[in-house]
């Protein structure tokens, strides 16, 4: 059997009580934990409604009729599942683990991509527990095509295929995320989780525009920004000549740590990206590769701010 990504047992134990419920009503294919656009067929009582001609007498609340002598029918909340598509940025910048460390295969340094893989595995596990159908799209293929596509399908085999894809995931070529979002826009609606550093050449404009389109058509879109401490100006690296892995010919002398201008520009960039996305209804989460996963996930799912 092919090797697949295995989540640490302690992590699985830690997320056992978590339910990753969507922010909006959905119209899924089967039972789940998300509120459905269909009302009345579920198990959770929602409200009473005066009986109307044609209502099914099986939904008549006989006890209420006995007490109040009024005819009311019981309305139930429908819950359903959704397609949860994880979009992972596979551009070379996601292979960055730190200034002084080099990315390696397997159990090498924790790159942003590997951290994203961990998040996808955990969130995918939560989604699958909720009955969702997790799928995966990885950018970084030639000419802007996806590096990998794993359609959202039900079943154990589909889940193992996704874990297998995560296990061998490597960075690809520099590619913008917007075309990937456009491609996902052609799929049925559902939940879309984008994991990236969002360092786009056009300052993110095309990305948030496409993310807005997804949101407008009814997708539940979440953007998770992943950075390393060195990128956040918190690393121990001294001054040097730095180059973007996606533009290695252009080197800039500088000092990330202690450079106030760097920090301000970095935060300003992401502040604008976050605002643009949030204005379009996209949920914005931020993570650093040194953040422990469990508290981070709990904070996100329970809605405790951005981080």
């Amino acid at each position: 059997m092919a090797a697949k990504f295995d989540l640490p047992p302690e992590l699985l134990d830690g997320i056992e009580d978590l339910a990753w419920v969507g922010r909006q009503v959905a119209r899924g294919l089967g039972p789940g934990v998300h509120r459905s656009t269909l009302v009345g067929l579920g198990e959770d009582f929602e409200r009473h409604r005066p009986y109307q001609q044609g209502d099914d007498l099986r939904h008549l609340d006989w006890r209420l009729l006995a007490r109040t002598d009024r005819l009311h029918v019981r309305r139930y909340r429908e819950t359903t599942n959704v397609r949860t598509t994880f979009i992972v940025d596979g551009s070379p910048s996601m292979g960055f683990a730190g200034i002084e460390v080099q990315p390696q295969r397997g159990k090498g340094p924790l790159t942003k991509l590997r951290y994203a893989v961990l998040l996808v595995a955990v969130l995918g596990h939560l989604a699958r527990d909720a009955g969702d159908l997790p799928g995966l799209v990885v950018s970084g293929g030639p000419d802007g095509t996806p590096l990998h596509i794993q359609p959202a399908r039900p079943g154990r085999e589909a889940w193992h295929a996704l874990l297998h894809a995560l296990h061998g995931l490597e960075v690809g070529e520099p590619a913008p995320l917007a075309p990937i979002l456009t491609r996902v826009g052609g799929l049925p609606r559902g939940r879309v989780v984008i994991l990236s550093d969002f360092l786009q050449d056009d300052q993110g404009e095309a990305f948030w525009t496409q993310a807005g389109h997804l949101r407008a058509r009814g997708d539940d879109v979440t953007a998770i920004r992943i950075l390393t401490p060195d990128e956040l100006g918190q690393g121990s690296a001294a001054d040097g000549l730095f180059a973007d892995p996606e533009d290695p010919d252009r080197a800039i002398p500088g000092r990330p740590r202690g450079d106030r201008g760097y920090i301000e520009r970095l935060e300003g960039y992401y502040r604008r990206v976050a605002l643009e996305l949030e204005d379009r209804g996209v949920l914005w989460w931020e993570a650093c590769t040194t953040d422990p996963l469990l508290p981070l996930l709990r904070g996100w799912i329970r809605g405790e701010g951005r981080r």
């Binding site: 200034i99 360092l199 950075l227 730095f242 180059a243």
Partner: protein, 438 residues
């Protein structure tokens, strides 16, 4: 021990080794690039705060490049590995010429003291009455004493009044070839200073005229400092007027020189004097004071101090004398060769083949034979006792008595090929590295 034929090239290599160092230090060097996806947000003005990186970061590469220059210089400098002293065999050559007869008993005593632990052979060389060479090789342990020694008495005075010392050297070479377990031969020559035929200032003058006259490097096909090997070839080129050349060549053969067998450095013998040798002749009064110290005008115009003493009646007043004389006759003069040029010996003759039996000729013969004269001493006293004392003590500056520590050129192992191979490997590595660069 390492001998260097052309030290200047070694220094040149050392200077050349500074070139890559200077390039490493001075060339604008970009620091190693490090990846940072958020590099676009860095403040460019921090460039001024980044110190200039001038320490040679590719230290191994720098060292290899410097080693290449040094090794190449060493290879071209003609380095030669001389083995340890244990590998040197010593031979004592005893002159049995007629001139040794008056001091033969002293020679016996001197020889007994000269023979040491390292002495492998004792060779007695002389000329018979018919002019043929006599050579007798004796092991140090078989050295005769007393009456037995008397049987080895010098040859009688005959028509050949001197032993041609080239024979001594030939015997040295022959004996050296038969010595096993040595990589070079040192020879001590036991002979007699003949003051009546020797100009005491000549030795000093020789050192001035030939800067390497003592310890001279000889030019061969393989470069400086080596004796040509391979097939025998005539190494003496005669430049002489017609008539003189034939006589001189005959004389060479009489001395034992065999152009089909002998090997040696390239030496031009100019028998003449041809026109260009006029400068070698000096007025006796101005160049060779009869008594006391004087100055000598050398062929290249330099004036050097020297001590002069001549036999009575020679040279006659107003005569032009060559700078070098032997036996009261003009014997040899030398033009000053530059480094790397062949020795040039001019024999200002008047159509008469000289008898070159004096010590100056011995030195010449040594040089001809590819030997290296490391040290020579000169003495003032004509007495035999003083002669032997000087011979044994080899005190510097007291008379042309002995030429010691004659080492054959077989000594040593040329390092040029090894060094060139090393340099080639380094150059190949550099080439591969350059080709591998993106």
């Amino acid at each position: 021990m390492i001998e260097i034929a052309r030290p200047a090239l070694l220094w040149t290599g050392a200077l050349a080794a500074l070139l890559p160092l200077a390039l490493h230090l001075l060339r604008p060097r970009e620091r190693d690039r490090r990846l940072l996806p958020t590099a676009r947000f860095l403040s460019r003005e921090t460039r001024t705060r980044i110190r200039i990186h001038r320490f040679p970061d590719h230290l191994v590469l720098l060292l290899l490049r410097m080693a290449f220059c040094l090794i190449l210089g060493a290879a071209l400098a003609g380095m030669r590995w001389i083995g340890p002293s244990e590998g040197i065999g010593e031979i004592v050559i005893v002159d049995r010429g007629p001139g040794m007869a008056p001091v033969w008993s002293d020679a016996e005593a001197a020889l007994a003291e000269m023979v040491g632990d390292r002495t492998r052979r004792i060779i007695l060389v002389g000329l018979d009455e018919d002019g043929s060479v006599t050579s007798e090789s004796i092991a140090p342990g078989d050295l005769p004493e007393g009456e037995a020694w008397a049987t080895l008495a010098p040859v009688e005075q005959g028509p050949w009044t001197d032993v041609h010392l080239a024979h001594l050297l030939r015997e040295l070479r022959t004996a050296g070839g038969g010595l096993a377990g040595v990589d070079s031969i040192e020879a001590r020559i036991l002979t007699r200073a003949r003051w009546s035929a020797w100009h005491p200032g000549t030795l000093a003058l020789r050192a001035e005229i030939w800067p390497a006259g003592i310890g001279i490097e000889l030019v061969t096909d393989e470069g400086l400092g080596t004796v040509p090997g391979g097939p025998s070839a005539s190494s003496i080129r005669l430049l002489a007027p017609e008539g003189v050349e034939a006589a001189f060549r005959e004389a060479l053969e009489l001395w034992g020189y065999d152009p089909t067998r002998d090997e040696g450095p390239e030496i031009e013998l100019m028998v003449g004097p041809p026109d260009g040798l006029g400068a070698l002749w000096q007025e006796a009064e101005e160049s060779s004071p009869r008594e006391g110290d004087g100055t000598f005008l050398l062929p290249d115009g330099r004036v050097v101090p020297g001590a002069g003493r001549f036999l009575g009646g020679f040279p006659p007043d107003g005569a032009r004398v060559p700078l070098f004389r032997g036996g009261g006759r003009p014997a040899a003069a030398a033009t000053g060769p530059g480094p790397g040029e062949p020795c040039r010996i001019a024999l200002p003759l008047d159509g008469v083949v000289p008898i070159l039996g004096e010590l100056v000729v011995l030195l010449d013969a040594l040089l001809w034979e590819g030997c290296r004269v490391r040290r020579a001493s000169a003495g003032e006293d004509e007495s035999a006792a003083e002669f032997w004392r000087v011979l044994l003590e080899t005190a510097d500056g007291i008379g042309p008595v002995s030429a010691e520590l004659i080492r054959t050129e077989e000594a040593g192992r040329p390092l040029a090929r090894l060094l060139m191979a090393l340099a080639f490997i380094l150059a190949l590595g550099e080439l591969i590295r350059v080709r591998a660069l993106p």
